[in-house]
């Protein structure tokens, strides 16, 4: 500050008479600017700090279980009997993985096609009509998705898909119907697929918009059809971004709680078929948090489950966000 005053003679400016009455002097304004910069910079570190403190808090609270049980007993353990002190997360981890995988399998192709349609084919009127639809789909609360799953998807799975699979797809282990209730991985996966669709579509659409029109025009000018242009020019150009967008969508699906919890069946068992019930990690935390205090180590185990979830999602997120940041670029680059 001092140097600046000397260099620019700001002190002198201060004494000028032609400064409008009631306006702060330059020195005051610069001081304000400095103070604001300092105050703002503290706020801006908050996000970084928040990620760190969430992770640290979960590690600390889960420590009793990390310290006393081996990784083999917890992450890869299949026995979940809190009363007897065995906390095997494997059924929950596999449950999460199954539901997410089914959701992504169902969502990827339609999302890719819709975002390509919006960026490559649709007229601008169509685009502006599609945006509110996607926004609404993204705005619908998880619990309403859960209600929809309960009322529409579970009966659909029970009355249509399960009989179909029993009748025509016998002998395929991952399509075996063991308990025909409708509740299970497939119902959860369908609900989840619709839930993450608007997110994935908007990310992919943004990615496709980064492809310069010149490239498209060059391809079209040498006689390629639009689809050939998409296949040979647009997609190869942004392939890492597409993968990153899908990974980001998967990490959204991993953590979804209420909607999945309502339709997935919640049975502690390593699933073997898409019609099996499962018990994903978020559902485990949500269902048991109330009554965990009475059993030793139970709360540590549940926060351990949250930690497992957090770590996986952090890894997914950081990698895909870095890829996307590089691809989408920033204003001054």
């Amino acid at each position: 500050m001092g140097d600046q005053e000397k260099a620019f003679g700001i002190k002198g400016l201060d004494k000028r008479e032609d400064r409008p009455k009631g306006r702060p002097s330059v020195a005051v304004r610069l001081k304000q600017d400095q103070n604001a910069r300092r105050a703002f910079s503290i706020i801006a570190v908050l996000p970084v700090f928040l990620i760190a403190i969430i992770t640290v808090a979960l590690v600390v609270r889960a420590w009793p279980i990390i310290g006393t049980h081996t990784l083999k007993d917890t992450v890869f353990g299949v026995v979940w009997k809190p009363e007897q002190g065995s906390f095997g997360f494997w059924p929950f981890i596999t449950g999460t993985a199954w539901v997410t995988a089914v959701a992504m399998l169902l969502a990827i192709l339609p999302c890719l096609l819709v975002s390509l349609y919006l960026s490559e084919y649709a007229h601008s009127a169509m685009r502006s009509a599609a945006k509110p639809v996607l926004d609404l789909l993204a705005a619908i609360p998880p619990v309403v998705y859960g209600v929809w799953g309960l009322l529409a998807i579970v009966p659909f799975v029970q009355n249509t898909l399960e009989p179909f699979s029993k009748r025509w797809l016998k002998g395929i282990p991952i399509l075996a119907v063991n308990q025909p209730t409708g509740f299970g991985i497939l119902a959860g996966g369908i609900v989840l697929a619709v839930m993450v669709a608007p997110f994935i579509i908007s990310v992919l659409y943004e990615i496709f918009s980064t492809v310069p029109d010149d490239l498209r025009h060059a391809s079209l000018a040498v006689g390629a059809t639009r689809w050939q242009t998409i296949r040979n020019v647009v997609i190869p150009k942004v392939l890492p971004g597409i993968v990153a967008g899908i990974v980001l969508g998967a990490s959204r699906a991993l953590g979804e709680t209420i909607a999945v919890l309502m339709v997935v069946g919640n049975v502690v068992k390593v699933p073997t078929s898409v019609f099996d019930a499962a018990y994903p990690l978020p559902a485990l935390i949500a269902n048991n948090y109330g009554d965990m205090m009475s059993i030793p180590l139970y709360d540590a185990a549940l926060l351990g489950a949250a930690l497992v979830l957090l770590v996986v999602i952090l890894i997914f997120n950081v990698i895909s966000t870095l890829v996307l940041q590089r691809l989408l670029g920033r204003r001054w680059t």
């Binding site: 390509l116 609360p141 859960g146 059809t225």
Partner: protein
């Protein structure tokens, strides 16, 4: 005129386009299907009592009452959370743009905001709960508001940041050239330009906050009374839906569907309203 023939590439083109339109119809149709399901099942049980009364004794066994406690509780929770997130988020967005720009630090902060955005609400809930235990706070409106603010912060800052990014660079440079400090640019130029963005961010955050169940499950608690103080527990609409559906009584489950319809209507109004308001405000910004 050249006669069009069905070559392989033209066939592929048609098939691809057909599939795209089909997927588009599926995605759009699923929105219709969700709304239709919720309306058809929710409307019959939606009475004035549902909206205007708190649960009376035996409500969860099918006796009289409504979910006013949850509606008010949710508005309090989401309103408080949004306000708190805005107080922290607005300076953050301004700082990101005016002072950090595209510097190394700016990239880190944006990255961490994106990562925070991806952390699921159940993890925020669990974290909030451990935080409450650490400082001795019981499940309450205040705890719920704090956790929702954490949940909404990244979305709101991102939404504001996105709008600031679209601002013409000339505008900022013109103000700087006239001798404004960066703070003055931030407060007098950028804030005005981003007003539509601020409104969008508020409504986006509010919408996310009011619909989220997993984060308030352990932090806000649940009660049949309308909260009178920040330190009292409070009900929320998503949890009201969830708990009513969990009862074995069909009459109560019907009310759960009606509550889901109320929640959906609130969220739809917010979503459409934000589009309208920001469109209106957008007219007053310099492009």
């Amino acid at each position: 005129m050249i006669r069009r023939r069905w070559t392989r590439s033209r066939l592929a083109e048609a098939v691809a386009k057909g599939l795209m339109i089909a997927s588009f119809v599926v995605v759009t149709g699923s929105l219709g299907l969700i709304l239709w399901t919720v309306i058809v099942r929710g409307l019959p049980a939606l009475t004035w009592d549902m909206i205007s009364q708190s649960p009376k004794g035996g409500y969860y066994m099918g006796k009289a009452g409504g979910v006013l406690n949850a509606i008010i509780g949710s508005l309090y929770l989401a309103g408080g959370g949004t306000l708190l997130a805005l107080i922290v988020g607005l300076p953050m967005a301004l700082y990101l743009e005016t002072y950090l720009g595209d510097s190394e630090w700016g990239r880190y902060v944006r990255l961490s905001l994106d990562v925070l955005w991806g952390i699921p609400s159940i993890v925020y809930g669990a974290f909030g709960f451990t935080l409450m235990l650490a400082i001795g706070l019981r499940a309450s409106l205040l705890a719920g508001i704090i956790v929702l603010a954490l949940l909404e912060l990244p979305i709101m800052v991102r939404a504001m940041d996105e709008v600031i990014r679209l601002m013409p660079l000339d505008l900022e440079q013109a103000a700087l050239a006239l001798g404004s400090t960066k703070l003055e640019v931030a407060l007098r130029v950028v804030t005005r330009q981003m007003l539509p963005g601020i409104v969008t961010a508020i409504l986006l955050g509010f919408g996310r906050g009011i619909g989220d169940a997993a984060s308030v499950l352990f932090t806000a608690g649940y009660t049949d009374r309308i909260p009178t103080s920040l330190l009292r527990p409070t009900a929320s609409l998503p949890l009201a839906v969830f708990f009513q559906l969990a009862t074995p009584y069909p009459a109560v489950q019907e009310r759960g569907y009606a509550s889901a319809l109320i929640l959906t209507i609130i969220v739809l109004i917010i979503s459409l309203g934000s589009r309208l308001i920001s469109g209106r405000l957008n007219r007053y910004t310099i492009k």
